[in-house]
């Protein structure tokens, strides 16, 4: 365990960086707005071939037993390119749900297919009213004989229209806010009673509200234990958040790079605007936020790798910091660009939009302050 990168980690970092440079121009983000899937299947398969989907999964299902540190290395580079492929929804949320909650049969059937890129899954734990609280579940699953009948709506589900399977939380007992009584189901996308309504979101990634109307699911499609799903989805979302903050770190670095380049090249009053101290000092504050975020992301990954007692606390520190920092870089970036920063052709706006979506994914800064307070008072 170390803060610096090993040779292998350096190699991984540069291979992802090379790939992003080759395959991704930010122009693709604009083109994909019109695309049905919102991402490229071709690039998805290439990512699979490079082995990145298996990086964090055990060898027995075709993975490489990687570390969280490697996860953030990959995510940081993907984040620099604003890669729209549904890595978090399919690999992190859904893949971890199967890994941690699936039977041996499910793992054998699903994980190798997912790792090879053939299977797209979408995780849906959020609802209209739940904001970031995974225990707030109104979607119900009623048990009849050996089947369950699921009714309710999951919100902002990424890549739902390309997904073969959904992984969702539903209430099998207890009240709306109870930790107990939540069950996680694996549902075929083609089941009767599933309908999608597209939601156009700021970053251009395809998201859907997915409605379940009395959808029949067999009892054998439960992940983890019945009524005990809360622990499972908490762990899945924590792991996925480690990936997300890695992505956010990469995004803010790239956005900052764009800003600095612009300040060096834009001439006003006969000199580059980057020579004005009013802007320079604000840039230094932006840079410090990135460095603090980098420290927090790295520390989180290392603590997840050693399963440290404080890992969840550190995760909240990091997500709160990255949420504020990414937004800050994007917002200052637009201001420093001036009017051109408001245009769609200028790249900086893409980053602010992604920052705002990433901020409200898995909890914004206010949520994580509150979560930190809960976790630290439990420890004291």
């Amino acid at each position: 365990m170390s803060y610096g990168l090993t040779k292998e980690e350096e190699l991984l970092k540069s291979s992802v960086a090379d790939f992003v440079r080759q395959e991704q121009s930010l122009e693709r983000i604009r083109e994909l707005r019109e695309d049905e899937w919102g991402f490229s299947r071709d690039i998805w398969m290439k990512m699979a071939e490079l082995g990145w989907f298996g990086l964090f999964f055990p060898e027995e299902w075709g993975g490489f037993d990687g570390t969280f540190k490697e996860l953030v290395i990959v995510m940081e580079e993907l984040g620099k390119g604003l890669m729209p492929e549904p890595f978090i929804s399919t690999i992190l949320v859904s893949g971890n749900s199967i890994l941690l909650g699936g039977s041996e049969e499910f793992k054998n059937e699903i994980l190798p297919e997912m790792i090879e890129g053939n299977l797209i899954m979408a995780g849906g734990f959020a609802e209209m009213q739940s904001r970031y609280y995974l225990n707030d579940v109104c979607t119900v699953a009623k048990e009849k004989n050996d089947d369950f009948f699921v009714s309710g709506t999951k919100t902002f589900v990424e890549a739902a229209n390309s997904a073969d399977k959904f992984i969702i939380s539903a209430r099998t007992s207890g009240g709306q806010y109870d930790d107990c009584g939540i069950t996680v189901f694996l549902i075929d996308a083609e089941s009767d009673g599933v309908s999608l309504s597209p939601v156009i979101t700021m970053d251009g990634i395809k998201r859907f509200h997915v409605a379940f109307d009395n959808v029949k699911v067999g009892a054998d499609k439960i992940l983890g234990e019945k009524d005990e799903g809360y622990q499972l989805i908490k762990e899945v979302v924590s792991r996925s958040t480690v990936g997300l903050i890695g992505e956010m770190l990469g995004g803010m670095e790239q956005a900052f790079d764009i800003v600095i380049k612009y300040l060096k090249q834009r001439i006003q009053f006969g000199r580059p605007i980057g020579s004005f101290q009013a802007l320079q000092h604000r840039c230094v504050d932006m840079w410090m936020e990135i460095e603090l975020s980098r420290s927090a992301v790295l520390e989180t990954a290392l603590q997840f790798d050693t399963n440290a007692d404080s890992r969840e606390i550190t995760l909240s520190i990091a997500k709160a910091r990255c949420s504020n920092a990414y937004k800050h870089i994007g917002s200052e970036g637009i201001q420093m660009h001036g009017a051109i920063g408001l245009t769609d052709e200028c790249d900086i706006g893409l980053f602010l939009k992604r920052a705002k979506v990433a901020e409200v994914t898995f909890g914004d800064a206010d949520y994580h302050y509150e979560r930190y307070e809960r976790l630290t008072s439990a420890m004291n």
Binding site: Q280, V284, E291, L292, S295, A296, L298, R321, Y372
Partner: protein, 383 residues
């Protein structure tokens, strides 16, 4: 490299030794308890732990050094003054003559020499290179005339390293020379400056035909600016070792709040205070994580890069916010300035609050550090 087990044993050994040997209270430089503690460290061979063994260092590995510093911090045990240990000492090792090394270095751990820093002048603050104190070589001696200011603790020091002008060139950075000076002489007069905290930490130093032999020239004549720049990076790291300069311990705020009931409600359970503390704790945690990165880079033999300027800038600004929060928690009691009950070596919160401003001004003000980072790291153009 040591195994984890060996490092843990080392940690316990250091902890136990400090517990058994440190006086209960160790005051700031100038108080009797400070000298007593310094002598104990010297006799143990731990006065200048980071130095090479030949000059009195402890021979610790980088990991052991980190552990040693962590244990000292945790026990509120101050290290010897940074001005000698981290600033002029290493500089003499790097650039000094054999005579300078042999004569000056051993006198730092043995407490024979205490060094002050003569850089700033009344008209030369952040624009350090515009200094005008003049030195003229007469025979084998430099004769120095001018005024230095903010010479920290100069009243307790017997040596000073200073920047003087030996030539007026086109560029103000040219013609500056770095000299070592014995201050126990008639040409040097010290006037302590009373600060807003009520004490005198700094002096104004008058140099009227002060003399120093030519062998006290460090580096080359007229090339002192380069020497000074190397020194300032060390000064910034040194500031972080001083708890008084980076804000009080956040636990102190909580302990205080636990005892306060405002209009029937416990302040400790006030959600607004809790949220303020959460944000401060998170900020502090992120600086700790950044320090871990710096330590990792150091132990791999990499030089601490921009992180030193960054750590100083962020931590000292954070320190002011922390102290201000403590003042708010104390409410009306925060205005108490000199408390009769407080021990001689202790500072009241109100004085710590005021003193923390020194940290964001000394060793490169926050604004100067932003200039440096903007130019050297971000590569933004100068005017």
């Amino acid at each position: 490299m040591e195994t984890d087990k060996e490092l843990e044993e080392f940690r316990l050994e250091v902890r136990q030794w400090i517990r058994e040997n440190k006086p209960e209270v160790v005051g700031d430089f100038g108080t009797p308890s400070y000298y007593k503690w310094g002598k104990i460290l010297y006799e143990k061979g731990w006065a200048v732990p980071s130095w090479p063994v030949e000059y009195g260092g402890s021979g610790f590995s980088p990991q052991q050094l980190v552990i040693f510093q962590q244990e000292m911090m945790a026990a509120d045990a101050p290290a010897l003054r940074s001005t000698g240990v981290n600033m002029i000492g290493p500089l003499i090792m790097k650039l000094g003559t054999d005579w300078q090394k042999e004569y000056y270095l051993p006198k730092i751990p043995s407490l024979e020499h205490f060094w002050s820093q003569g850089f700033s002048e009344p008209d030369t603050g952040s624009d350090l290179a515009s200094l005008t104190t003049e030195a003229v070589l007469e025979g084998d001696e430099f004769v120095i005339n001018g005024k230095k200011i903010w010479t920290s603790y100069a009243q307790y020091c017997n040596m000073m390293f200073l920047l003087v002008r030996t030539k007026t060139g086109e560029k103000k950075q040219d013609g500056i020379t770095f000299l070592l000076l014995d201050v126990d002489q008639p040409g040097v007069e010290l006037h302590p400056i009373k600060l807003i905290i009520g004490k005198s930490e700094f002096c104004e130093t008058f140099l009227n035909n002060a003399r120093t032999p030519k062998r006290n020239l460090l580096g080359e004549i007229d090339q002192g600016w380069k020497v000074a720049k190397a020194l300032l990076a060390n000064e910034r790291v040194g500031i972080l070792d001083r708890p008084n300069l980076v804000g009080i311990n956040l636990d102190r705020i909580k302990e205080y709040a636990k005892k306060v009931v405002i209009n029937g409600k416990s302040l400790f359970h006030d959600p607004i205070l809790r949220r303020r503390l959460t944000k401060l704790e998170m900020d502090q945690a992120c600086t700790r994580f950044t320090n871990n990165r710096i330590i990792a880079a150091l132990s791999q033999g990499l030089a601490p890069g921009p992180e030193a300027a960054f750590a100083k800038l962020y931590s000292t600004e954070l320190g002011k916010r922390i102290n201000d929060t403590m003042m708010g928690v104390m409410g009306p009691d925060s205005q108490v300035f000199i408390d009769e009950k407080s021990a001689e070596d202790e500072m009241e919160i109100s004085r710590l609050f005021l003193f923390a401003y020194a940290a964001t001004i000394a060793a490169g003000s926050s604004e100067i550090l932003r200039n440096i980072i903007s130019k050297r790291i971000l590569g933004l153009p100068s005017v």
